[in-house]
Assembly symmetry: C2
Homo-oligomer: 189 residues x 2
DNA sequence: CGCTGTCCTTACCATTTGGTAGGTTGTGCG
DNA sequence: CGCACAACCTACCAAATGGTAAGGACAGCG
């Protein structure tokens, strides 16, 4: 159920995906959904939180103790990239939450999405190159890298339409290397 | 009128911004809007096209003949960045169109947004570093750079909320330099 | 058997959506 | 003046929105 909700919220946004559409996608009535989740807000919150938690897990896995922070961040972005490669809807959904802020304030507090960003900023701040740039510098770096990693997936449909599916596929393959290079160049000097 | 529509479509997306809300923002009734633009679709199309045309103009200005393509791309991204700095809604609106594909197919054909992407890809493909990577490689680079440039602006609200307005402002200042460096490193070797 | 609770349904509801029809006001122009 | 036309309004409409109420089907359990 949440998987279906994630797909539709990712594709059409909070406002664009009605609970009727989601339930129809599942072959149920919308009241079945409301029965399980109480309200559209709560379903959306669950979808976002679940998605963010997956990313958070990837982050934790990449944060092995003892390794230099540069390696940790690199490992995270590599793992994130391959995760999004398998499931672009994650990128789409989280990006939408970043831009729409459709989550209720109380549901936002202490969410996994916040934790991911804060941990990333802290780790970047621990790198040699950026430790003197303060929180602001690290935040700039993190946002930049995340943006570079995600547009690719969030704009999937448009890019395929504009350039053709085969060209897009080819770009996908190259993207991984180009991106890894970018992360490395940004974190080291 | 279109300015107001751009603001609201950028903030809430096509589905999330009703013509009633836009007209209320203007102090009119929604029928006044419908009178001028015929339908919500057409108003949205105008807002997107106008915004994309601004970006296209920035691109043309950066594409002076005779300069090396690396410089052209760098100049474009620098100008784009300062434009978005003044008007983040442009980034938000165009990003939404990239992800939502809310434009009708007939209105998409030959739009400024397509022209921008295609011209960028062609120019990147003309650079020394990427001329052997084909359309795919150039597309990957363009998407990556655009993503890096825009997340910052599209997620403005969330970032301000999470890290505080002052921290966000500080990151803004640093972002410009970090980004210029990133573009340069990506285009040259 | 009967009781309870979960799952899911049909039947509603008030509100909002995009859009139409028709009328009113004002302005420019012959 | 009289005519046309744009701008804008009120009044409506069918459809879709999120959500409530009430009940049926069915399982587990005493």
């Amino acid at each position: 159920m949440i998987r279906s909700a994630r797909r539709l919220f990712a594709a059409h946004g909070y406002a664009g995906a009605s609970i009727a559409a989601i339930s129809q996608d599942l072959g149920l009535t919308k009241q079945a959904l409301l029965h399980h989740f109480g309200s559209k807000d709560r379903l959306y919150a669950l979808a976002v939180e679940q998605t963010a938690r997956e990313i958070l897990q990837i982050l934790f896995d990449a944060m092995e103790e003892g390794r230099p922070p540069e390696d940790q961040v690199e490992a995270f972005f590599a793992a994130l990239f391959s995760h999004l490669f398998d499931d672009a809807t994650s990128a789409q959904l989280l990006y939408r939450e970043l831009t729409d802020q459709a989550l209720k304030p109380q549901e936002r507090a202490g969410s996994s999405l916040e934790t991911v960003l804060e941990s990333l900023v802290a780790t970047v701040q621990a790198t040699e190159k950026w430790q003197e740039a303060g929180v602001q510098g690290a935040l700039a770096v993190v946002v930049q890298l995340l943006g570079a990693a995600t547009l690719h997936f969030t704009a999937q449909g448009t890019l395929q339409r504009m350039f053709g599916r085969t060209t897009y596929q080819g770009a996908c393959d190259q993207f991984s290397d180009v991106f890894a290079d970018l992360v490395s160049r940004t974190l080291r000097d």
